[in-house]
């Protein structure tokens, strides 16, 4: 989903951090944001509580809430894409082949 929203808005982040979950992504609070996102996508409630508190302490409660909202949105959009067989046209698919390799997503079942 990153490519659609990111390309549409022209916003760029460090793709290596997205691919690996490591580093800062080149943004403030990147470490805390990545840990929070990781915990949301996992099912360890203690880890989630810990990363939530770390993000809240570092960046504030409103920031943590909005980060959770963005994560929730992409829990939604990924299921919209997967559930309806969303795919790119050939031109876009070719243009983003390098991005897919960088992210390590080109072999996935959903790479239709």
């Amino acid at each position: 989903m990153l490519s659609w929203s990111g390309q549409k808005s022209g916003v760029e982040v460090d793709l290596t951090s997205i691919a690996t979950g490591e580093g800062t992504g080149g943004v403030p609070f990147g470490v805390e944001l990545l840990a929070f996102a990781e915990a949301i996508a996992d099912w360890d409630d203690e880890e989630l509580a810990d990363t939530r508190e770390r993000l809240r302490s570092a960046a504030g409660e409103a920031f943590m809430i909005d980060a959770a909202a963005v994560a929730a949105n992409f829990e939604m959009m990924t299921r919209v894409a997967d559930g309806t067989g969303a795919r790119f046209d050939d031109k876009t698919r070719q243009a983003r082949a390098g991005l897919a390799r960088t992210l390590g997503v080109d072999h996935w079942e959903s790479a239709r």
């Binding site: 990153l2 549409k8 997967d82 046209d89």
Partner: protein, 211 residues
């Protein structure tokens, strides 16, 4: 903890939407699917994606989309159609699951209590379907004409206007509206756009969503 009023209202509206008759399914059927999706999302030890736990194909679809979305393929869709599910019912199940998952995911993420689903609004399915349905190249499911003029995720639920409207109401509150997305300088005053994209990208990667 104080959650933005527009976000609270979008989530409440999504649950009201679930509990109302859909285009093809009753409110009771929709709540049942939402309960399955919610429970699947939280299940400590989920079943493998190929296991069919439930008697109804719609229920198995809801479970799998809530917990194993990255395993969806055209073969799965074609098999469901061959076994008698209609494409519009498929779209409605997707609509119910995506009306459920972000609400419960957000509540879990911020550590708040999970709101119960409202009681069902009684009545027959509405039959509210886009007036001109066409096959698409960018999605398996039929969409409102004209097809493939917008991104696949934008047209994805357009066959059923009620599901489409709920999706974009949620997206506007949780993330940003389509208009705001066109402005790279727009923020809510909390996360910058690169910070939002970092979270969005990492969740998408962990969910194995190629798109």
């Amino acid at each position: 903890m104080e959650v933005r009023a527009d976000l609270v209202e979008a989530h409440r509206a999504s649950f009201r939407h679930i509990a109302s008759p859909g285009a093809c399914l009753t409110a009771t059927e929709r709540i049942r699917l939402a309960e399955i999706a919610r429970d699947a999302y939280f299940e400590a030890e989920p079943s493998p994606p190929w296991v069919r736990h439930y008697p109804e194909a719609t229920e198995n679809l809801a479970y799998r989309l809530a917990r194993h979305a990255g395993t969806f393929s055209i073969d799965l869709y074609d098999r469901a159609m061959a076994e008698g599910m209609s494409a519009l019912v498929w779209v409605e199940v997707v609509g119910v699951v995506i009306a459920t998952v972000p609400v419960v995911a957000f509540a879990r993420a911020v550590g708040s209590d999970m709101a119960p689903f409202p009681g069902p609004v009684h009545g027959r399915p509405t039959g509210r379907v886009a007036t001109d349905l066409v096959d698409a190249t960018l999605n398996w499911v039929p969409v409102a004409a004209p097809a493939d003029r917008t991104a696949a995720v934008v047209q994805a639920l357009s066959a059923l206007p009620g599901e489409w409207e709920n999706l974009w109401r949620l997206a506007s509150a949780q993330y940003m509206s389509d208009r705001q997305m066109d402005d790279p300088a727009w923020t809510r005053g909390t996360l910058s756009r690169p910070q939002m994209e970092l979270v969005a990208g990492r969740i998408s990667k962990l969910r194995e969503c190629f798109y």
